[in-house]
């Protein structure tokens, strides 16, 4: 197996470990703030989804590039009962 420079990296020193720990903790907070912000967007998003499902029936759904297909009502997906997420 070919050797890579990355495999020769010296062990993380104390400063690098501290840098990582600090920034991982901050990223966790940032992630949670994003989740909260996106949860709060739900009423608008519900409206956007309704508009989208309407547009793909009238103007069309972009199948590939500018190729459009009008989606019959019978093919539209139904909102499931489970909790909806956009951030994973």
């Amino acid at each position: 197996m070919a050797q890579r420079v990355q495999d020769k990296k010296p062990k993380r020193n104390k400063a690098a470990r501290a840098w990582l720990e600090e920034n991982i903790a901050e990223q966790k907070k940032r992630y949670q703030a994003i989740v909260d912000e996106q949860e709060a967007l739900w009423p608008k998003r519900r409206k956007w989804y309704r508009e989208f499902l309407k547009i793909i029936q009238t103007r069309g759904f972009n199948v590939d590039g500018d190729l459009l297909r009008k989606i019959p009502k019978a093919e539209l997906p139904k909102e499931p009962k489970r909790k909806h997420r956009v951030v994973w």
Partner: protein
């Protein structure tokens, strides 16, 4: 767990932090995303006026995109729009910044590292080095780099392409009044930083100037709009394939199964060998967009199953285990 899903994150209001790691002192940074295991990260870095560093190397592949200002690197002068891919172990010349500059700095394999050196590591794959001004020295191409493709109104400049993983780094724009009415997801992680302008996605709302995302694979995004247009820096970590659909409530797990269903239909031998082996979804995984695709004649043909009419007469063929 690699990098979490960071979307959307608008960094402009977040303060810079002092960069206190060797080789970066005299600069400030913001983390845009960070791999919690490897330390690989995307940073926005502000090099203060007077920043200097001796020649050196990193043990990680690095990518740099200059957002503004002038950075002298060895004999080169990097200005707004400059892009560089620096393979792990390749040394770059002394850096100096006269009046300050901002750049996106990406470490692809591990946390930021710098070791003073005026020569390359013996294992450095220096052929992969790239350094050019992406605004001036790279042409815009149409957005249909892959198929199925985005709608007209997207342009792309490929800055870096990894031949093994097909990961790409690129600039893209959306023209004013851009519109694409579908939902997309990919097998790859996708990253973007809005250099200027605002785009909109149906799940996340507006992504303005300074807006960023790191999106792991199989997560829905789109429909897409841009009222006034935008220009952005983007990356993927492997091959980009656009899976388009119109179910706003699909989950990453369902999307992943649908992607596997594509593989089952389009690369049947590979699917059989990698995934199936006669026990794992022998008739193909579920596809929430085409729930009955298993009965499609071509799909059945590809997988050596009899047409529907014959199926009722002949006993099912036993699948031989391949070794």
């Amino acid at each position: 767990m690699a990098r979490p899903h960071i979307e959307p994150y608008v960094e402009l209001d977040a303060p810079y932090k002092k960069f206190d790691i060797a080789g970066f002192k005299g600069s400030h940074y913001k983390v845009l995303s960070l791999d919690v295991d490897s330390g690989a990260c995307t940073l926005k870095v502000r090099f203060d006026g007077g920043y200097k560093r001796k020649p050196g190397l990193s043990y990680s592949d690095m990518e740099i995109f200059v957002l503004n200002g002038i950075i002298k690197v060895g004999k080169e002068t990097w200005r707004e729009g400059h892009y560089a891919f620096i393979p792990a172990g390749m040394h770059i010349g002394a850096i100096s910044v006269g009046r300050g500059a901002e750049a996106l700095v990406m470490f692809n394999d591990s946390e930021p590292s710098y070791y003073e050196s005026d020569r390359n590591h013996q294992l450095a794959l220096t052929d992969a080095f790239k350094s050019f001004n992406s605004y001036v020295d790279a042409p815009w191409g149409p957005g249909n780099l892959v198929s199925p493709s985005v709608a007209t109104g997207v342009g792309i400049k490929v800055l870096h392409y990894d031949v093994l993983t097909q990961a790409i780094t690129f600039l893209y724009y959306m023209s004013p009044e851009f519109m694409q009415n579908n939902i997309s997801y990919h097998d790859c992680a996708e990253e973007s930083y809005h250099i200027w302008g605002t785009s909109w996605m149906m799940q996340f709302g507006d992504l303005p100037t300074g807006g960023y995302f790191w999106r792991p694979p199989y997560i829905d995004h789109g429909a897409f709009r841009s009222k006034l247009g935008c220009i952005a820096f983007g990356r993927t970590d492997s091959k980009l394939h656009n899976y388009f659909h119109f179910n706003p409530w699909s989950t990453p797990d369902e999307n992943k199964l649908r992607a596997a269903a594509h593989l089952y239909r389009q690369r049947p031998q590979l699917y059989d060998w990698v995934a199936s082996e006669g026990h794992n979804h022998p008739h193909g995984p579920p596809d929430h967009e085409h729930p009955h695709y298993h009965d499609d004649a071509q799909v059945r043909h590809l997988h050596g199953r009899a047409p529907a009419a014959e199926r009722h007469q002949a006993p099912p063929r036993k699948r031989k285990r391949r070794r």
